[in-house]
């Protein structure tokens, strides 16, 4: 019943205002998509909710997302397959007024986060790695990042889970970074495409990922200063981060780690967030990356 | 010819059911004026509502020229007891409303201007109802009914808010119009004098629930200087007796 393959189909990719999505923008700006023979429309979203609405509404072929969201999507009947990992980190910041300097100092204190998301997963693991039980902190749900940022600054929460560029901004204003997914090596951010698109338009997806790699290579070699203005402008980052933002080391696309995926799956199963259990191989697409290199 | 037989009307009030008219039977020949008189609450307005097609729930048979009541095909000029002016229309538009509904949008023509002038409201054309005195409002309602040249004229105490002098002028105007077009008219009034002066027949209603007490052929109809006539006094006494007895 599905429409058959449309050669040269326009691929729409939903991106988020975070550093993970930067290569997609650079690829567009530098014309890598066209060069690689793909027609791509990059659609920026301001929040995960909007991105997921559009995805659920069938408006997107690919998304910059995370494993938790991908598992949820599959459980909800949207067949997303992860093709690649991305490079952003999630950081746990303590507010400057909180006097917290280490993760164990969080016991009994409040932490801002969004619940049942990659943010909560990351926090739980960060706490456990420092022998703090997730129940021992007071989790305060604040979904929107700018608000969470303000609550941290205004001492309405003692700590908060953040991503770039807000973590840099908080750092500058006196917050402390307690730990991050970089430290724990459990990054679970990812690029995913719908199974239908992967089936019907594999060539286009490959072209997209090649363009991604081109962009990553560009980001690796060029000095940050040469593209940062564009990124700040196009991503809608705060202007102040220009001198302080810590851009990640962008890597060539590679598959998400099975170890991390299994950990995420276990966390979700523990929390009874989904009924089904997914194997790494169920939700991964190896073909794109494999055939891309050939 | 209006034929009413065994007309009964109930109202559904919030806490009770009210019988307003109780088996009223009455024939009104074409071109006649009948005046309707009766105590307050006897169902006179209700009777007019039925003829005008406002009150559609009733028992009994009512026909106009053999056909059931249908305000769409009839040309009914009605002067409501509370005037029925629309607050968002000025005097001009309220006065022309009847003819507008019947024949589409209208400008003031000679006839309507004549009527407005006779009613002495031709200087108030741009006023809204709330800017008029009680009697002025009533005259706008009269104008509306007259201007549309109705086939059937239903007047519910049409001159009640007018001073004695104006009232007499209006009575004359009404008779003048009636003579020209011989409009079948039902005229509700509280004034025995008016009933005698204007009605070729006088119908007397009983107090609530309204029944026809008597239908009187009126010898005083259109008599000049009514009060100076002998018949006036005897008729007047007769009417009053019927009313008081009830």
């Amino acid at each position: 019943d599905k429409p058959s393959a449309v050669p040269g189909k326009m691929i729409t990719i939903g991106i988020m205002p975070d550093v993970d999505s930067v290569p997609f923008l650079i690829a567009e700006k530098n014309g890598y998509y066209t060069k690689r023979g793909a027609q791509v429309k990059v659609i920026p979203f301001k929040s995960a909710k909007d991105r997921d609405s559009a995805l659920q509404g069938g408006q997107l072929d690919g998304v910059v997302s995370d494993m938790v969201a991908v598992i949820f999507a599959n459980a909800g009947g949207i067949n997303l397959r992860m093709c690649s990992q991305t490079d952003g980190t999630i950081e746990l910041m303590a507010g400057k007024g909180s006097d917290i300097t280490s993760v164990d100092g969080l016991k009994g204190r409040s932490v801002g986060l969004s619940s049942n998301t990659v943010m909560e997963y990351s926090l739980d693991r960060m706490l456990e790695a420092n022998r703090v039980l997730p129940d021992e902190v007071n989790k305060v749900v604040i979904p929107q990042l700018p608000t969470r940022f303000e609550m941290l600054q205004g001492d309405r929460v003692d700590a908060a889970i953040m991503v770039q560029p807000f973590s840099s901004l908080a750092l500058k204003d006196g917050a402390t970074m307690l730990t991050s997914t970089d430290v724990l090596a459990n990054k679970c951010v990812t690029v995913a495409f719908t199974a239908e698109t992967l089936r019907d338009n594999p060539e286009e997806i490959k072209a997209v990922m090649r363009a991604y790699n081109d962009a990553a290579a560009y980001l690796q070699t060029e000095p940050t200063a040469s593209y940062l203005d564009f990124v700040i402008q196009a991503m809608g980052f705060p202007a102040e981060v220009k001198d302080i933002i810590k851009m990640p080391q962008y890597r060539q696309a590679e598959l998400p780690e099975k170890r991390v995926f299994d950990d995420v799956m276990a966390w979700m199963a523990d929390g009874q967030l989904v009924k089904a259990t997914y194997n790494y191989d169920d939700l991964i697409n190896r073909d794109v990356l494999r055939q891309m290199i050939e | 010819m209006i034929q009413v037989s065994n007309l009964s009307v109930w109202y559904q009030a919030i806490n009770e059911s009210v019988l307003a008219l109780d088996r009223v039977s009455l024939d009104i020949p074409r071109g006649d004026i009948i005046t309707l008189i009766g105590p307050s609450g006897s169902g006179k307005s209700t009777f007019l509502y039925v003829l005008a097609g406002i009150q559609r729930k009733y028992a009994g048979i009512v026909t106009i020229d053999g056909r059931p009541i249908n305000p769409k095909t009839q040309r009914v000029g009605m002067i409501l007891q509370n005037y029925g002016l629309l607050p968002w229309k000025n005097v001009r538009d309220n006065a022309l409303l009847g003819i507008k509904i019947k024949s589409g949008p209208q400008e003031l023509n000679d006839y309507s201007h004549y009527i407005l002038q006779q009613l002495d409201i031709d200087t108030l054309l741009d006023r809204y109802p709330k800017e008029l005195s009680g009697g002025q409002r009533q005259r706008v309602a009269i104008a509306r009914a007259f201007i549309m040249k109705p086939d059937l004229l239903l007047m519910d105490e049409p001159f009640s808010a007018l001073d004695a002098i104006t009232r007499e002028e209006m009575q004359a105007l009404f008779l003048h119009i009636w003579k020209q077009n011989s409009v079948t008219t039902v005229f509700v009034t509280h004034s025995v004098d008016e009933a005698l002066y204007l009605g070729s027949k006088i119908v007397v209603f009983s107090s609530s629930p309204g029944r026809v007490l008597e239908i009187i052929d009126n010898p005083c109809f259109q008599m000049e200087d009514l009060r100076l006539q002998d018949q006036y006094h005897s008729m007047s006494m007769r009417l009053r007796k019927i009313l008081i007895k009830d």
């Binding site: 995960a48 997921d52 069938g58 949820f72 999507a73 459980a75 305060v140 749900v141 205004g154 | 919030i14």
Partner: protein, 245 residues
């Protein structure tokens, strides 16, 4: 009358369900699950999961609307009755009503924390304008003649309010409360997403993020049913209070 009313409710329930069912069959996507599955899900989860959320939301909505009415109705009445107050406050209302209150949510959270107070304040902040404007306009539409008898009796201001302004504008105020109800339900989606894990707003949003459409639609159905009940209660109150119409 009563039975007729219920007939209408059942008809329209059937219409909604049929339309929903048709849409779900037509789209054949998980995003629009079939009403039958959702119903099963509600039956399976209502007492266990949803009922607590309903109570939280109900409490917030009713408290918010009550507070908004207590503030807004008198203010609207004053503006409607006294031209001077209206001239002073109307521009204020006209300036502040279109301010997108949602954009001020962070400020409210900074000032009042992440608890119930902020939630209540947001509902009141948004809904009170609707109540003020409607009450004002209702009072303005009372014809001057209606006041004549009380004026000649030398009634006090309070008597004028209780004998005329309140009963005359009650129907419009009830309309405003109906509207406020719908708005308050939407506001749940912003206020129940922070600092709480209870409430229909949280429940639906959470299900949404989890792409659990069965739960999400269960939440939506329960929420509309809750709204329907409040609406019917307002209608009943109106029939009772405005019997004179």
């Amino acid at each position: 009358m009563r039975s007729r009313k219920w007939r209408g409710a059942i008809y329209s329930l059937i219409v909604v369900i049929l339309a929903w069912w048709a849409l779900s069959a037509l789209l054949a996507r998980p995003i629009v699950p079939s009403p039958y599955d959702v119903l099963l899900n509600i039956i399976a989860t209502f007492t266990a999961k949803i009922s607590t959320h309903v109570l939280y939301s109900l409490g917030r909505i009713l408290a918010g609307i009550l507070l908004a009415a207590l503030l807004g109705v008198p203010l609207g009445f004053l503006m409607g009755y006294y031209d001077r107050i209206d001239r002073l406050l109307s521009p204020l209302v006209y300036f502040t009503y279109p301010i997108p209150k949602l954009a001020l949510l962070p400020v409210v959270m900074l000032l009042f924390g992440l608890g119930e107070v902020s939630k209540l304040i947001m509902i009141v902040l948004i809904v009170v304008f609707q109540v003020v404007i409607t009450s004002r306009d209702a009072v303005k539409s009372i014809p001057a003649e209606t006041f004549h008898s009380l004026q000649s009796l030398g009634a006090s201001k309070i008597q004028t309010f209780t004998e005329i302004i309140l009963p005359a504008s009650l129907p419009e105020v009830l309309t405003a409360i109906r509207l406020a109800l719908g708005t308050a339900v939407s506001i749940l989606f912003f206020t129940e997403t922070f600092g709480t894990e209870y409430g229909m707003g949280y429940f639906i949003m959470d299900a949404w993020m989890r792409v659990n459409y069965l739960d999400m639609y269960a939440g939506i159905v329960v929420l509309s049913f809750m709204g329907f009940c409040i609406f019917s209660a307002i209608d009943a109150a109106e029939t009772h209070l405005c019997a004179w119409r």
